[in-house]
Amino acid sequence: MDATMTKRKILSVIKTVFVYFLLILYMVPFALVLINSLKSKVNIVRYPLEIIDPNGPQWGNYVTAWVDMAFMRSFMNSFIITGCSIILLLVFSAMAAYLFVRTDWKICKVSFSVMVASMVIPFQVIMIPLVSIYGAKFGILNSKTTLILMNFGFGTAMCTFMCHGFIKSNIPMAIEEAARIDGSSPIGVFFRIVFPLMKPILSTIAILEILGLWNDYLLPSLILTHKELYTLPIAIRTFYGSFSNDYGNIMAGLVMSVFPIIVIYLFFQKHITAGIISGAVKA
């Protein structure tokens, strides 16, 4: 008995060491970004592994990045666009998924299948048609509202898919039926009973979508061409040159734009692992 105990203990120590070693490997690129965000371009290029710039930490990178990216303005744009898109996505995708799970109407089945199938469409296929239609024909580009609604349209398939799985396997019909007898309308039942029960999957979707939207470059760059509308990822691109990039500024800008995401992530962390895709898994 003792022998097996020690054997297990040793095994678990090995596992732990291995996992933490892997974790450090995973973190290397981030450490590099952080270190090099405080170095001058010349030193980043010549001595990428030096921890401190020979001329001391180059806080100037952060100042330049802050000013050139118009950080506050870009941050607010990113924040508003991400925030509004998320609310639309969560509420309406959950509603659609609820209907798709609880009914066996043909139209619902078709709608849901089309949504799932659409998840494999490469964005390149619709990129130019999209701007031709909404730019040249309707002239509604260069507006945050347009981008928010498009984010909603593009994201809703994935969100509905995930909510669908969750409702199907985790929300018992019995509760709803009880409420129904009490005389609530379907909308009332949904918002008073079902929606709150979906908290785990909704926070999972929220964090995944927030990450995606916050970092998105291609779609916003197509829709927003005026500077005052730029989001953080578009603003950071100004440090890319034709032949060489301003690495110091890029890394400083990166640290500043990832920071809010990390805060949000830590905030959601518990839910993510709890709710995890428990829905999607059983879809």
């Binding site: 607010m76 509004c84 197509l222 040159g241």
Partner: protein
């Protein structure tokens, strides 16, 4: 947890409110105003808003400064936006009905846009000062105003060469391959093991070397096109072409003495700049456009300059390749009459007004195509280029390749530089390409 969620919800909702509240902060710093120049035009009574798409990122700041100065003088608000992929961006912007009023693009885009989307600039005042020669023309009409003249050439570090040789370095003495080879070997003997720097990028290592073959056929665009047509018709091949072999003899020398020869395709552009600047090597096969990226590495007190591509017995020997590389075009599809007028005024201002010339030459740091501008260029590479131009020692750069020339052929040349493809195979790839394509005149 519930509390946290509600906090988040409030944060998100507040974003809606912020959004609805709208943020119209247009706090613009006071900008200097220049004199209204009647030759350019009148100041607009009402502010005209136009946009400028710049595909030459290193001059964005300078352009913004210029745009602000012009804007406050003539009451025009110019928004400068930047792109590193003009082909993609211009297609997107035209597709979305939101084309930039003014766009700085490459020749490929001018060709696609001419005749339908952009203004015929043939009657603009700057045409007579060289716009006619260096501008991009389609069917005899000028559609692209030349922004800058650049040269692909050999950049050198004069200081380190003279230190090693112990005598004055006179570039004119090393224009043939034989002379240049002797020079390189002398440098090697003096302790510089690898005096040449080659880039690794597909445009630099893949595309430019092939262009040298066209450029030095007889030094003229017509001569190069005639050769390519001969290849197309099957009358000759690259392998039989003397210039092709001469150019590749020179390239072989570069490849042999490349500072990055252990790993030629991993060369880093910035590292290359620092090699030349600090004298780790003496020659960088690149072009005058490298200055803005080179400048941060330049060593105080060191002298730098440009050399023509060394080649044996060639009419172009001792001459540098010169080409207008970026063009300015003005939209006529989405721009109103007034915006089009403002755009043309801005172009005129850059060439004809002293404040505009200052922006072009001293802020954007370019070599201009316009003969009426007498300001000297600002950096060593451009000063060198200007001397060659003034002395008439130039050959025409290649601008007649179809749009897939680079994507098809650059990888083959990169493979040649890495020793994966032989000269004969490369020649065959070039033959095949030109048999299927014709140069664009």
């Amino acid at each position: 947890m519930k509390k946290l969620l509600s906090v988040l919800l409030i944060a998100l909702l507040s974003s809606f409110v912020l959004y609805a509240g709208g943020s119209s902060e247009t706090a613009s710093a006071p900008v200097a105003t220049a004199e209204v120049n009647p030759a350019i035009g009148e100041r607009f009574a009402q502010t005209v808003n136009i946009s400028l798409m710049n595909s030459k990122p290193e001059i964005t700041d300078a352009l913004e400064e210029g745009a602000a100065l012009f804007g406050s003088t003539y009451n025009v608000n110019i928004e400068v936006v930047e792109t590193d992929n003009p082909g993609l961006t211009i297609a997107q912007r035209y597709a979305s009905g939101d084309a930039p009023t003014i766009a700085i693009v490459d020749s490929a885009q001018v060709k696609e846009l001419a005749g339908q989307r952009i203004a015929d600039l043939s009657n603009e005042p700057w045409v007579e000062y060289g716009g006619d020669v260096m501008g991009y023309k389609v069917d005899g009409k000028v559609y692209g105003m030349p922004l800058t003249i650049e040269s692909m050439c050999i950049l050198y570090n004069k200081t380190v060469i003279e230190d090693l040789l112990g005598r004055e370095f006179v570039p004119a003495d090393y224009t043939s391959l034989d002379q240049f080879t002797a020079l390189v070997e002398e440098l090697v003997a003096a302790g510089m093991e690898t005096p040449v720097i080659l880039c690794s990028e597909d445009w630099a290592l893949g595309h430019k070397p092939i262009q040298y073959v066209y450029d030095y056929q007889d030094g003229t665009k017509a001569g190069a096109i005639a050769f390519l047509k001969d290849v197309h018709d099957g009358n000759t091949t690259f392998e039989d072409n003397k210039v092709f072999n001469d150019v590749y003899d020179t390239l072989d020398l570069f490849i042999k003495y490349n500072i990055n020869r252990d790993d030629p395709l991993a060369a880093d552009y910035d590292l290359n700049a620092s090699y030349l600047a600090e004298g780790d090597a003496a020659f960088w096969v690149n072009g005058t456009w490298a200055w803005p990226d080179f400048e941060p590495y330049a060593v105080e007190g060191s002298e730098y300059g440009i050399l023509p591509f060394p080649i044996n017995d060639n009419p172009g020997q001792g001459k540098v390749v010169v080409d207008s590389t970026k063009y300015i075009v003005a939209d006529i599809i989405n721009a109103s009459e007034e915006q089009q007028q403002a755009a043309k005024m801005f172009l005129n201002w850059l060439v004809l007004d002293s404040a505009g010339q200052d922006v072009l030459i001293n802020k954007c740091q370019i070599v201009t195509a316009f003969s009426n501008i007498t300001l000297p260029p600002t950096n060593p590479f451009n000063l060198g280029l200007q001397e060659y131009i003034n002395a008439g020692m130039t050959v025409d750069g290649a601008s007649y390749m179809p749009s897939d020339h680079r994507t098809v052929l650059a990888p083959v040349m990169q493979a040649y530089a890495a020793g994966e493809v032989s000269r004969a195979e490369l020649a065959t790839a070039l033959d095949d390409y030109w048999k299927a394509n014709l140069p664009i005149e």
